[in-house]
Amino acid sequence: MPRLNPLALSLLLMLGLLAGPANAMDLGKTGIGLNPPARGWKLEDHDDAALKVWHLRADTWDPAPKESGLISVTVTFLDGDPWPDIAAMRDQAADIVAGQLMTAVTARTPFELVSGRFEIAGADFEGGLDLVSEGDKPVSARLLLIRTRSGFLMITAFSVLPMREKPFSALFGETGILTAYGPGAAGLNGTPAAAEASVPAPADPAANPAAIEDLLKQMQQQFQPSAETGN
């Protein structure tokens, strides 16, 4: 049996601790966990009787953070689910993202899908953030409303990378800021590299309705559960 150098073992343990999430937490019984990065991010949380909010933001936006350019991730968690029409809620939330949180939105792609226990309505955006003194900073944004059987989540994520550069590949996944578990988890966690690679180069969807359909299909494929889960 090979002997392990104690120094190497210590280094490996330290690296493992540093690489792992700071304090992963389950969001109720939704089947989704939040893994705030151990370094390079700040975390603010708001705890209320009816909802909880976690707002994560990268320490620095330039150069882009290691996590695929993600600069801000906000999660609202409600342990109830009083809204029957998730798509209508998505549409209104998308209006707010495009109209109030972003500037100069050039692309907005809504999508809906069901993956196991997760019912998802979302939208992707390309536009900018108004940094006032520094002008508009181009960003991509993703809005997700996720209904589970045990709670409701609204997630917004912003990345400094454009859509063609996989801006949200580190949002969900086993090593992502969020991780889904259980039936349908693969639909959310996906296989980031393959899924994001399927997103085409940004075009002007308004100029070509077929492009919208294609983009939507590819977005949905990104969330399709894999055959391995049997969902």
Binding site: I71, T74, P82, D95, V97, Q100, L101
Partner: protein, 162 residues
């Protein structure tokens, strides 16, 4: 013949009364609030003031009464929130007019923390009978009147910039 007509009329009246009694209507609203106080009505999980707070409803919020238990009504708002609220502040009919809203009032449907230190968002008109009041985004006749305040307060990526 006269007896037949009388019986027909009675039967019709009984039928109409039954229909009216079972048909749900959105004909009640939040009112009677103290405009100098918090000026909202709390929607709770159970029929007790100690129960978990689901949401807060501003004056003029239109509700449907689904059930009652003592002084408490089990209600549903137009945007689908369901819970218990004290009957003192649920008035029959529709709001007669726009009640001036004090600056310190909570936005409709937004759940503030107990300290009440959440910034007040822009006032949005309450929903009116048969439709949605203008001024707030709505889709397909559904309005999530708490959403704008919540998202601009918590989901803004520039919240702490720089």
């Amino acid at each position: 013949m006269t007896r037949f007509a009388t019986m027909t009329l009675v039967a019709f009246a009984i039928l109409q009364a039954m229909l009216l009694s079972v048909t749900p209507t959105l004909a009640d609203y939040v009112g009677n609030l103290n405009p100098n106080g918090d000026n909202y009505l709390t929607l709770r999980q159970y029929a007790t003031a100690k129960s978990r707070e689901i949401s807060r409803m501003g004056p003029g919020t239109i509700v449907e009464i689904l059930d009652a238990d003592g002084d408490w009504f089990y209600i549903q708002t137009q945007d689908g929130r369901i819970g218990w609220a004290h009957s003192n502040y649920i008035l029959p009919g529709l709001p007669g007019g726009n009640t001036p809203r004090p600056d310190n009032a909570a936005p409709f449907g937004v759940v503030n923390d107990e300290a009440g230190d959440v910034p007040v968002e822009d006032y949005q008109e309450p929903a009116v009978a048969g439709g949605i009041a203008s001024g707030a985004a709505n889709v397909g006749g559904v309005e999530f009147d708490w959403l704008e305040g919540h998202m601009t307060q918590f989901h803004d990526p520039l919240k702490y910039y720089p």
